[in-house]
Amino acid sequence: MPRDRAPEKVKDLKGTLLRLFKNLNKWRYMMIVAAILAMIAAMLSTIAPNKLADVTDVITEGLKPNTENIKKVSEKIYGNILINSAGKEYIILDFNDLPYEKKIELLDPITIDGVDISEDDQIKYISIASTMKEDEMSEDLLIKLDEMPNSIKKVIEPKLDMNELKYRAIILGIIYLLNSLFGLCEGLLMAYVGIGYSKNLRKGISKKINKLPLKYFDNHETGDVLSRVTNDVDTIGINMSDNITSLITNVTLFLGSIIMMFVTNWIMAFTAIAASIIGFIISFILLKKSQKYFVERQKQLGDLNGHIEEIFSGHNVVKAYNGEEEALKEFDRINNNLYNCNRKSQFLSGIMQPIMHFIGNFGYVAVCVVGSLLVMNNMTTFGTIVAFMIYVRLFTNPLSRIAQALTTMQSIAAAGERVFEFMDEEEVSDESHMKEKINKKKAIGNIEFKNVKFGYDENKTIIKDFSANVKAGQKIAIVGPTGAGKTTMVNLLMKFYEINDGDILIDGKSIKELSRENIHDLFIMVLQDTWLFEGTIRDNLKFNRSGVTDEKIWDICKTVGVDHFIKTLPGGLDSMVGDNDSISSGQKQLLTIARGMIEDEPFLILDEATSNVDTRTEELVQKAMDKLTVGRTSFIIAHRLSTIKNADLILVMNEGNIVEQGTHEELLKKNGFYSKLYNSQFQQ
């Protein structure tokens, strides 16, 4: 269903549209065929009225009495009377008043077109014809014709040429049939193009998501990407194909009718165009104006949405602080603005169609008047006028459609721009040329940080000069208050972000020479936010790895201590993991640990679970995590200081910087940030 989307301001309308078309290249043959079909269909539509007029002509022709034969009958009858009355003493003042014998005397049987007309019939004819006035034709004549004797009727009765009609009707029928058929084929073809196009766009976006640096997602909202995948792509997909065909069809119709008009009569062509132009100027102004209100409306709608979201989601505070009236006042303000924009935009866009309708009628009358003038001055024929009446309709309809299509093009371009903007985001560097590789089976487990410098913002270095040597199997804890940048270390180790200066060496090899894929292969990563996708527990534990047997899964679940829980679920491993289900966040955490353990990897990054887990599950999680660290070089982001006292190295972070490093005892002795942090949990 077409979406009611207001045209948005587009930065580069032409460029975006060109690019959209370029992307359609894959379907060019389909589109060319569709365009040709649309053009033929449009041409057929221009011809059809003419052919319909032909059919009408045949029928109207069949309504007219055979005037030639009427003349012949009269001439012959009156000629006979004149001949027969020659030399007779009486003058025929009134034939009808004569006695029957006299009448017979004056008449002779006549034959017209092989039909014999007896004297009696002729007498009847004369009596009826005498009641006719000189200039009386058409209808009264027809009524009188009905009274005529059969023989005369036969001669002068209108003859509808059925053969001609059949022939014309069949031609018109074929035109109509082809028109519909071509329209249908073109519609189906464009359906494939439009839908295929949006499918490809979506696919492209999904691929792009994985190629973007993580930085992108730190700065952009998920909802924004989502709306590009759905709303924007839909806007393009649905409208694009409709719009292209509408443009092709209507431009063909438009040009066709203009050409036909000028070919037929240039004066009347100008009349028709001039009469319509006034209307087009009006509707163009309206379009511009309404566009302004549509943009404004969209903005107000956005504001209203924002306000509502704020108030509804902060409902408890609004209530507890008696903020209802304040909120309602603001709501009323935006709601009123929206009301005004709504009213104006809807009104202006709503009267477009009636105005175009009126232009059609106005053009019609103008053509009739000017046409009649020309006829009177013998400058054209009636047929031309009739043809023009049709052309005026053919000419005004497509123009309003074209105008409509152009507005839609704007919203397509706006959506396209948003999609392309996303597609153009800088991707992570290409690594296909990297030859270095660490085999995870043979990895030792050493990591060395050499004068690492890093900042999310080029100008703001937050890790200034960090060096540390981590031996295989050691446990490194990263601590610090919330928001201290503990995940920065994860980002660097996993090469989610590139370090600015210095180096990190894994088993002596620089991560700059190792591909991301290779590095990721070496690490088990368990994060605090328990990300699981919608699917069965089995699928989630297996994730992207093939050849994992159920046996192996159960083994690991037992180690982690989640096997009992899975067994209590009605579906076992086949139970679905979703958004709103019975699996608690603690249990989810256990599942992510199990997922990490399915494959054995030499390094571990572990982000500890925090507050939202109840104490008993927390113990389970803790135990599982402890098991994970055995035999692996581990980096642990710690929230509970008590759990990391035995770490080989503690990195203390604050405001993005590593402020201290050392073992628990060393750091306590220093009496610095760590000891303050450590002791603060006991203070009031």
Binding site: M1, A48, I59, G62, L63, L145, D146, S180, G187, M190, A191, I195, K199, K203, S206, V225, L226, N305, G306, I308, E309, I311, S313, H315, N316, V317, K319, N322, E324, F331, N336, N342, R343, K344, F347, G350, I351, H357, F358, N361, Y364, V365, G371, P481, G483, V490, M525, L527, F533, E534, F543, N544, S584, T615, R616, E618, S642, S680, Q681, Q683
Partner: protein
């Protein structure tokens, strides 16, 4: 639907009546147009017609067209007025209703659903009014009027028109029945596509870490294929519509001509003329009949969606409010006391109680803390005081008066409530801290500054570009979680309440800030009563009274020291956070 439209005011109804009469009049004028057209055609075709005659007929036709244009513009104006007025009213009704909701109702609908109901659903109704009403009036009027013109004129030609109408109605109904269920499916698949994409983004680190990019793409492609398949079916079905409509209309036209010609051949002279004029009438009015049926089917297409929307809106508007305000506004003999008398609580539809038989009393200036594992009911308990929920059994007293007797405003004036997740509003820092109404004057800037200072926010606020006038973005996205929490606490302080309620409000703060804030707060508000829900033992270690909750029951009450000795659950919680040695040192 009808229920929702009962919200139309008298003025709205007047507008509707005006719209109906204008539409009827414009249809009348519209149907006159073909008559003038054929008159002009005839004049032009007849030799000897004078210019005057053509001008007169042309003038009449233009008058008719202008009249119809004016009518339609008026209709456009009135319907846009009507739909905009009505949608504004409904939006306001929903908003007001939701403001009066308690948490129970909000949870029942979910916030995001309430938002779509206030915006998208209302827009649907608005669309129905602005597009549907003129159509709904015009289609039957046009159909009836046109039918009147052709009725009884020719059986044969009527039959052809009827066949055309039947074919069009049947095709349209078939198309709708094919497409409608698929639309519902598309909605679901779009949600699913959103879901998969959301998963790909929220799990981007995990996906990269497991080198699972291909896996994520495969999942996405599966839904994409499915969605594309249904989209294709719908689009193909719709592609059928136009050609079929054209085909039927054209062939009906042709059919009328051919049948007319056959009738003409076999008729008498006078009959011929009659039949021919019937033919012309049928070919133009028959088209109108078909067009009006087309319009009607179009309404059937937008109606179901609007119906769903109006149902969703009605659900909100007719929902019962569980927390009703009392009337008490006077002075109380106590101040700063909170008492629970044998309070039990369960959600209206739930079987199990979340709180069972809770009784305690806090005196003025005391600090009471609640601790327990997730789901133990501590947040629920504390929410009973500002009546975010009502107790199922038992009574809650504030300053010696049952909370249900208070005028809600009066009750809220006594309370400073700080929720689990800090709520920020668009506006300045000052506006956020001075938020709401406490029955007194709005807090001054001085007061705001003081409150922020106590809440340990002075430094970061004064570091911001415009200090206290700095803009807070929607949802507070331009400040960190801990900063939001501190402002949220400052907001309560600026209110000067008798009773502070901290619903796990310290969790976003680090240990140091947490400790310092509570120290300063204690100094600043010596007389105020505090109720604190916390996860961290450190936060509550010095409270006057600690209540330990387990599965909704009170399993221990006393000070930290007492509880360590007497309460197993408390000890377990404490030990999970601190070592025995650390606990004893504290």
């Amino acid at each position: 639907m009808i229920k929702l439209f009962s919200n139309l005011s008298r003025k709205d109804l007047f507008i509707i009546i005006a719209v109906i009469s204008l539409v009827v009049f414009s249809v009348f004028l519209d149907l006159r147009l073909p008559e003038y057209m054929s008159e002009i055609t005839k004049l032009v075709q007849t030799e000897g017609s004078t210019m005057n005659e053509i001008l007169t007929s042309g003038g009449h036709m233009i008058l008719c067209a202008v009249g119809s244009l004016i009518c339609t513009i008026c209709v456009g104006y009135l319907t846009s007025l009507l739909s905009a007025r009505f949608s504004r009213k409904i939006r306001r009704l929903i908003f007001e209703k939701v403001e009066s909701f308690g948490i129970t109702e909000i949870k029942k609908f979910s916030t995001s659903s309430l938002i779509t109901r206030t915006t998208n659903d209302v827009t649907q109704i608005e669309g129905l009014l602005s597009m549907g009403v003129p159509l709904l009036v015009k289609a039957p009027v046009m159909a009836i009027w046109a039918l009147l013109k052709i009725i009884g004129k020719s059986k044969e030609l009527s039959l052809i028109t009827a066949i055309g109408v039947v074919i069009i109605v049947v095709t349209n109904l078939t198309i709708i029945s094919i497409v409608a269920p698929r639309f519902a499916k598309i909605q679901k698949l779009t949600d699913k596509l959103n879901g998969v994409t959301r998963e790909s983004i929220t799990g981007i680190r995990v996906i990269h870490a497991f080198n699972a990019e291909k896996h994520a793409e495969k999942r996405f492609n599966k839904v994409n294929e499915e969605l594309t398949g249904i989209h294709l079916t719908i689009t193909k079905t719709f592609a059928l519509m136009d050609p079929i409509m054209n085909f039927v209309m054209h062939f009906q036209h042709l059919g009328i001509y051919v049948l007319g010609a056959i009738l003409i051949i076999n008729a008498g002279m006078m009959e011929k003329i009659n039949i021919f004029s019937n033919m012309v009438v049928f070919s133009s009015y028959g088209m109108q009949v078909i067009m009006s049926f087309l319009m009607l089917t179009f309404i059937f297409m937008i109606l179901p969606r609007a119906q769903v929307s109006s149902k969703r809106i009605n659900e909100v508007l007719s929902s019962d409010i569980s927390v009703k305000s009392g009337t008490f506004r006077g002075k109380t003999k106590d101040s700063g006391t909170v008492e629970f008398r044998d309070v039990s609580f369960k959600y209206p539809d739930a079987d199990e109680y979340l709180l069972k038989h809770i009784s305690f009393k806090v005196e003025k200036g005391e600090t009471i803390a609640f601790i327990g594992s997730t789901g133990s009911g501590k947040s629920t308990l504390i929410n009973l005081v500002p009546r975010l929920y009502d107790a199922t059994e038992g009574e809650v007293y504030v300053d010696g008066v049952n909370v249900k007797e208070y005028d809600l405003k009066e009750l809220n004036n006594r309370i400073g409530y700080i929720p689990q997740t800090a709520v920020m509003f668009t506006g300045t820092v000052e506006e956020n801290v001075a938020y709401g109404d406490n029955g007194k004057k709005k807090p001054t800037l001085e007061k705001v500054k003081e409150a922020i200072k106590v809440a340990q926010g002075k430094k970061f606020i004064e570091d911001m570009e415009d200090s206290y006038k700095s803009h807070i973005a929607r949802g507070g996205t331009n400040i960190s979680g801990g900063q939001k929490q501190r402002l949220s606490i400052a907001r309560a302080i600026a209110r000067d309440p008798e009773i502070y309620i901290f619903d796990d409000s310290f969790s976003a703060l680090d240990y140091q800030t947490d400790a310092k804030l509570r120290r300063e707060l204690k100094k600043y508000t010596k007389d105020a009563t505090s109720m604190i829900v916390a996860q961290r033992i450190g936060t509550i270690i010095n409270a006057d009274k600690i209540i330990v909750l387990d599965k909704g029951e009170c399993v221990g009450m006393g000070t930290h020291k007492e509880l360590l000795k007497s309460c197993e659950v408390y000890k377990e919680i404490a030990l999970s956070q601190l070592s025995e040695e650390e606990l004893n040192n504290a």
